[in-house]
């Protein structure tokens, strides 16, 4: 599944290790035995993935709540 979880502002970040700007890339997220494939800001060099505060506190928090049956 592809998803639009990349804010253009997130792509202004530069990977500290590789010194390369992040790009939209496919990333696997695993939580409670469920694996999801989504699009996230990713370093094209080392594969580092950025999860922004808004994503963590928004969609990902809601996903956690659903999977934890809260």
């Amino acid at each position: 599944m592809k998803a639009e979880n990349v804010d253009p502002e997130d792509l202004q970040w530069v990977c500290r290790k590789c010194n390369r700007p992040l790009e939209a890339g496919t990333a696997s997220v695993e939580y409670m035995g469920n694996q999801f494939t989504t699009e996230l800001p990713t370093c094209p060099g080392c594969g580092f993935v950025l999860i922004s505060e808004s994503l963590a506190l928004g969609k990902m928090a809601e996903v956690e709540q659903i999977l934890e049956d809260k």
Partner: protein, 244 residues
């Protein structure tokens, strides 16, 4: 989400993007699992009520050699299905008025569709009518896991698609009243949770989806009701009882 606001959830592009052609939690894996209880012979005539874009009908014909027919009330879904495969036998209609002769079918499948039927009493009567004695009813659907909170769903305004969800006891009692003997019940709530999580990642908050099919103003109430009712997903197989 770029869907037309008036489209019900099951017709939304967002749902199709996440589930593929099956358009329901658990997809064809649950169909396969349900069929394992039935041992239907090749050539048996079956109907899929609420067939959507025909994924189950195609699967039943191709992999089980069943004479499967699909029925859906949505012209849009059937049009989409015919574009993919014009040979699939699909008809427009509603479960409350089935275009089959009495006792004609070996099995009826309702996969995440019965809760959407307006006239539930008529649908149960019709399903019983068209099934042969001993015929199978394969039912997978949303159910309420917190029965004392079921009222919070039924009293919601508008045409919220989950309003028809009932508790396990209510569904089992309805089957019995309608002349069916339950032979299998399985909880597959994990499949529903996974689908909900995928929808959130793909489209944003579920609250936006609850508002998409009707009045966006009622979305918060719908979201709260869904949480309180602790919705789950079940698979059941029942047989039409032969009344002497």
């Amino acid at each position: 989400m770029a869907d037309t606001p008036s489209l019900p959830l099951y017709e939304s592009a967002a749902l199709q993007a996440v589930t593929g052609p099956a358009l329901r939690p658990g997809g064809l894996e649950l169909t396969q699992r349900a069929l394992s209880y039935c041992a239907l012979p090749a050539g048996a005539q079956v109907a899929d009520l609420g067939c959507g874009i025909g994924a189950t009908v195609d699967h039943l014909r191709r992999h089980h050699r069943l004479r499967a027919v699909g029925l859906d009330r949505s012209a849009g879904m059937l049009g989409h299905a015919r574009q993919k495969d014009p040979r699939l036998p699909l008809v427009r209609g509603d479960a409350s008025c089935l275009p089959f002769e009495d006792g004609r079918l070996s099995a009826v499948l309702c996969e995440c569709s019965l809760t959407l039927v307006d006239d539930m009493d008529a649908a149960w009567r019709e399903i019983r009518r068209v099934l042969a004695p001993g015929g199978f009813l394969i039912l997978t659907d949303i159910y309420v896991r917190a029965p004392h909170q079921a009222a919070c769903l039924t009293t919601l305004p508008g045409t919220f698609c989950l309003k028809g969800a009932r508790s396990r006891d209510e569904i089992a009692a309805r089957m019995q009243r309608s002349g069916f003997a339950l032979i299998a019940w399985e909880d597959h709530s994990e499949a529903l949770k996974r689908l909900a999580a995928e929808l959130v990642l793909a489209c944003g908050s579920l609250q936006a989806l609850w508002g998409a099919g009707g009045d966006p103003g009622s979305a918060p109430a719908c979201a709260a009701a869904v949480r309180q009712a602790r919705l789950g997903y079940f698979l059941s197989v029942a047989r039409k009882e032969v009344i002497p």
